[in-house]
């Protein structure tokens, strides 16, 4: 009986050794919904956008003006390892704002998304 327990323990031992991962990685600085809501098409100026949101991640020339691109991502990683087996899950979601400014420096379009908080830890299934 004792020998059987020892054998079972030897077989199961690797399964008991392992580790886990629980990490949040933020890329970029975020901003509030209220700040983004202040941006009005046809009224807000390029200077005001820069003052409220800071320097954009990307500044791109378009056919009729330019695009100020702001984004901040949150990647939640979860993993478990038991030597012979491992599970992992990476969930990356974004807060983002794109502001289109015409040649006169006036905002002509704005789009925003606030999905960062939808990023979640969990199992892969």
């Amino acid at each position: 009986m004792t020998r059987k327990i020892v054998r079972t323990a030897i077989v199961l031992l690797p399964l008991c050794l392992g580790g886990c991962l629980w990490a949040d990685a933020i890329d970029g600085s975020s901003w509030s919904r209220e700040t983004v809501a202040k941006i009005e098409v046809g009224k807000t100026t390029r200077a005001q956008v820069l003052e409220w949101l800071g320097p954009p991640r990307q500044l791109l020339r378009l056919t009729e003006g330019e695009a100020l691109v702001y984004s901040c991502s949150l990647e939640k990683s979860t993993g478990f390892s038991i030597i012979v087996a491992s599970t992992w899950r990476n969930d990356k979601q974004y807060d983002a704002v794109t502001v289109i400014v015409n040649r006169d420096g006036i905002v002509t379009a704005v789009g925003s998304r606030f999905d960062r908080d939808k990023s979640a830890h969990g199992m892969p299934w």
């Binding site: 820069l50 320097p55 791109l60 984004s71 990476n90 979601q93 999905d115």
Partner: protein, 167 residues
């Protein structure tokens, strides 16, 4: 006795089993429904941004502004039984058994605007699955679409362009 032999093989590293189960999610696909409702020759750029939110990539290509909306999800299940074979002065390893299943789903919309009005709209909702059960080899498939190639090139172009700008 058999159980002891198997235990010794596993514990000494003569046979190494490995099971890997994973999932990767990148971006939300909430924009899909809105993209389906866009009308060529009618919908404007401001309407699109208000409806779909900010794009993943925005770039100017000659006389059009191109917007990409992209979301990606993949799942992986992989089981390997490998047996390292010791040789003098060099270590070699062979997968005695390999079984994998990788599935991915890419959702993408490419929207081209000319003079602020939607000129072209391309939507893809592409799912792929690669399954392999082999000894020592890997079976895989790759998504090869012209739209994906354009997306990768335009994303790179946007990155290069931002490097030349200073807000």
């Amino acid at each position: 006795m058999k159980a002891l032999l198997v235990s010794v093989l596993f514990l000494t590293g003569c046979v190494i089993p490995s099971l890997d189960i994973g999932r990767r999610i990148d971006g939300s696909s909430d924009w899909i429904e809105g993209a389906a409702g866009l009308e060529e020759g009618k919908t404007t750029l401001p309407e699109t941004l208000a409806k779909l939110g900010p794009p993943s990539v925005i770039v100017r290509v000659i006389d059009v502004d191109r917007l990409y909306y992209v979301s990606f999800e993949s799942r992986t299940i992989e089981f390997t039984l490998s047996a390292p074979i010791p040789f003098a002065r060099q270590g070699r390893s062979a997968d005695a058994f390999y079984m994998s299943s990788v599935s991915g789903r890419v959702r993408m919309a490419r929207l081209e605007f000319q003079n602020g009005v939607l000129l072209h709209r391309d939507l893809i909702d592409h799912g792929s699955r690669a399954t392999g059960v082999v000894g020592g080899a890997v079976n895989s498939t790759a998504v090869s679409l012209a739209l994906m190639d354009d997306y990768i090139q335009d994303r790179q172009r946007a990155r290069l362009e931002q490097g030349a700008e200073d807000p």
